[in-house]
């Protein structure tokens, strides 16, 4: 009797969760990214690498079609209903309407969803029973060796070449750039991606005033770019992340989810 009551209570309590969990978790392939030590090129108080445990990551960025399912299930994230605190006016502007991808829906469906805020990405990940990767996780995953790159470029050359090019008018579909050794697609070359702690402190801590920090950051960055082009690419990503606010919706910024291995 007690047991039955407990079970009933459990099911009755389920709807109380903020986001109903999706039943389609099986739909998106996740791959294992081995753990390792993450060496930030930025100076921290301890100067020690950050240990990262092995984790799961979506093999591709979340697509417009996938995000549409989320918005359907969570009306408060529809374009016309979303709170401006959590997503700016560019939110999902590539769509024709709240639940309409427009006449190019077939094509758009398979491209990475962009113009999504950090809050929206967080909410999506939570709905999927996943989370956003940390900066350390993302950088480790992104450093994975490509299977093959055009013109046999090195990954660093490939990244810098991509950073140099203007955004494509229409984003290509996922899986159109390269796959890396972990089985992840398009880590570089398609879009920029949100990370859980994108607002990490980007300079040595405990300084008195932010202006002082910015100066330090600038000096370090100048020196770094001359020494090591690989770090320069990472620095560009750090600067990009540092310039973001959680509500920003940008035409080349999307996300993919991660999950801890229990």
């Amino acid at each position: 009797m007690k047991f039955l009551t407990t079970i009933l209570l459990f099911f009755l309590c389920l709807p109380a969760l903020a986001y109903p969990s999706s039943s389609e978790n099986a739909g998106k392939k996740m791959v294992v990214v081995p753990g390792g030590n993450y060496y930030s090129f930025l100076v921290t108080n301890s100067n020690k690498p950050i240990p990262v445990a092995a984790f799961l990551m979506d093999e591709t960025a979340v697509t417009n079609a996938e995000f549409l399912e989320f918005v359907k299930a969570n009306p408060s994230w529809q374009r016309s209903k979303v709170n401006r605190l959590f997503a700016d006016a560019n939110y999902l502007k590539q769509w024709a309407g709240d639940l309409d991808l427009g006449k190019d829906r077939q094509k758009l469906g398979n491209t990475p969803v962009v113009n999504v805020s950090w809050f929206a990405a967080e909410a999506y990940a939570k709905w999927k029973g996943k989370r956003l990767p940390t900066v350390a996780e993302w950088e480790l995953a992104g450093a994975g060796t490509p299977d093959k790159l055009k013109k046999n470029m090195s990954l660093t050359d490939y990244i810098l070449d991509w950073y140099n090019r203007p955004n494509a008018q229409q984003l290509p579909a996922t899986k159109t750039t390269y796959r890396n050794e972990y089985g992840l697609y398009d880590m570089h070359g398609l879009i920029w991606e949100w990370t859980f702690n994108f607002n990490s402190f980007i300079s040595k801590g405990d300084s008195r005033a932010t202006t002082e920090d910015e100066k330090k950051l600038f000096c370090a960055a100048g020196a770094m770019s001359v020494k090591d082009r690989k770090n320069y690419a990472a620095f560009l990503r750090f600067s990009y992340r540092g310039s973001l606010k959680g509500s920003y919706c940008i035409a080349n910024l999307g996300f993919r989810c991660a999950k801890s291995i229990k």
Binding site: M1, L85, E122, F196, N199, F201, A209
Partner: protein
Amino acid sequence: MKNILLLASIALLLGSCSDTNKNTDKKPDATSVVQAQTALPEASIFNITDTFTNQHKVPLQLTSLRGKPAVVGMIFSHCGYACPRLTADMKIIHDKLGPKAKEVNFLLVSFDVARDTPARLEAYAKETELTPDWILLHGNEQAVRTLSVLLNVQYEKDADGNFSHSNTISVLDKDGVLAYQKEGLEADHTETIGTIEKMIP
């Protein structure tokens, strides 16, 4: 029989739910009456629904702080340099407000979700001689990160479990809308205090 069981479960469920609610509202400065009156403004930071826990181990949603302006700082209690100063800066603001300080919520939220348990925060409040009206909050990683994003506070945990972070004092109006921010330590608080005083009737 099945029906009775179901009814009993629902009754139990409702019972347990209302108990939880009571606990949440049982704070000295509960403003549930105000809450019931109008919806939160869109820009209110109190729109986040995560549950935090205060230094007295009482669960709390930010919306329950509605009704008073709030001064908010983000810190970690093991911090050797900046955080004691940030706390000291907030104490200066508290003291300069004099008796009016009781019309304002003073909030310290910790980045250090692992070490800054409610008990540790209570000890920190004693160490730093904070008066009982201060609210020190512990939250899960996601809740604290979300708040930091809304307050434009940057922080990062290093390999030793300490944090690099920006130092910002935020002033929220009585509906939780960000009204003013001061960056840096040992800054001039005149404008911060002026902003708060304008919010107090």
